[in-house]
Symmetry: C2
Subunit: 213 residues, 2 copies
Amino acid sequence: METLSTSTVHLRIASWRKGQAIYRQGDEGRHWYEVVEGFVALCHYFGDGRRQVSRFAGRGDAFGFESGLRQFSAEALTDVGLVGHAFWDDRAPPIDMTPPSGSHPALQRALEAVENTMRLFSYPNAMHRTAAFLLQFSTYCEQPDIIELPMSRQDLADHLGLTMHTVSRSFSELARRSFFILEKPDRLKVLDRSGLEAMVEFEKMQGDDQLVA
Amino acid sequence: METLSTSTVHLRIASWRKGQAIYRQGDEGRHWYEVVEGFVALCHYFGDGRRQVSRFAGRGDAFGFESGLRQFSAEALTDVGLVGHAFWDDRAPPIDMTPPSGSHPALQRALEAVENTMRLFSYPNAMHRTAAFLLQFSTYCEQPDIIELPMSRQDLADHLGLTMHTVSRSFSELARRSFFILEKPDRLKVLDRSGLEAMVEFEKMQGDDQLVA
DNA sequence: CGGGGACTTGATGGTTGTCAAGAAATGTGG
DNA sequence: CCACATTTCTTGACAACCATCAAGTCCCCG
């Protein structure tokens, strides 16, 4: 951990280089982190080599709440700047993580992020799932119609439960249908955002009269 | 909400009947809940009718942390007993939801539960995914080798990202291979637990030398 | 005992994973 | 700055898997 500056004992700003692991599955957790700059992939490795990317964390997101052994690895997709918070020091926690009475704690946001990811899996096919992901991810991008992807096709595949090939085919198909242009593999220019939103039936979510039993 | 007893202003024990909704997507969240008895499905409805069951909550699990509008519906799969905690009253929170310094707060457990669900999606096919779910769920069952399922095949399908038919076929195939016997559709007797565990390559998770980049 | 819902099973077509090859992008050394 | 090597990405062909449609069976409850 390359410390750049230290404001208090339990709060450190540090940076990692692209490709480095911030921590690994199996490590003992001592800190949780907020992303200041760049992108991090949180992923779980299985014994047989499968990898599950549970979410990508960008500016403002927090991760690393496992206080015992890490269940995930945190991998820097780009050069990354983080604020690290020590678990063992709970004097004046820098972010409110107390019960959900008013404030909006980091842990709750992490839960929502994972739940958002889970929703991707309800889409019927690879193209819809890919489109839904792109819309989700576009909120991280500065220009509204340019999506720059810090992660590889394999990272996306491990996130979406598909293969790299199917992800690539989905991109190509969406581009063929003029939803966007693939300027480079990791940079796409959105032409028809509302078309994408319609395609993924963007979570009307209003309490439409769904009944139980 | 049928109140059975009231211990303080912000903590109520209540029960729901099988099939009832504890709350619905779109409602305003006022409480979070702990399950005392029975099972609850947390599910998200999409505008086009798709349903995603993000997790099942059993005894000891907590749910309902969305303090704004509910993103999920909570549906009672069986008769259910719950402890409800009001958000707006933070005097003496009944369960520790403070930062992860030692204790094991309810919110953190919920995050882990969703992350566990996500791992199911990394399995290559329906049978493996089903087997992995059954092993996960068996921890709720009292007798180690009898799994009683409170949820329907459709609930399972919405949880696993499959159709009811494929879930049913997976059950039949696993039974045909003698991993268990389907005594009834909702009750199965496990014959070969270690075989199931081997099949799903049960999370060795040890920091085996996985490298990044 | 009878009716209705839930579950199971068969047949078929569409989608995705696999295997394989080729194209594009990236990095390196001259 | 260019040539080459390496990695990443794309695309094609084929097989395996799953969703769909359609019956049929089982189970639960009246």
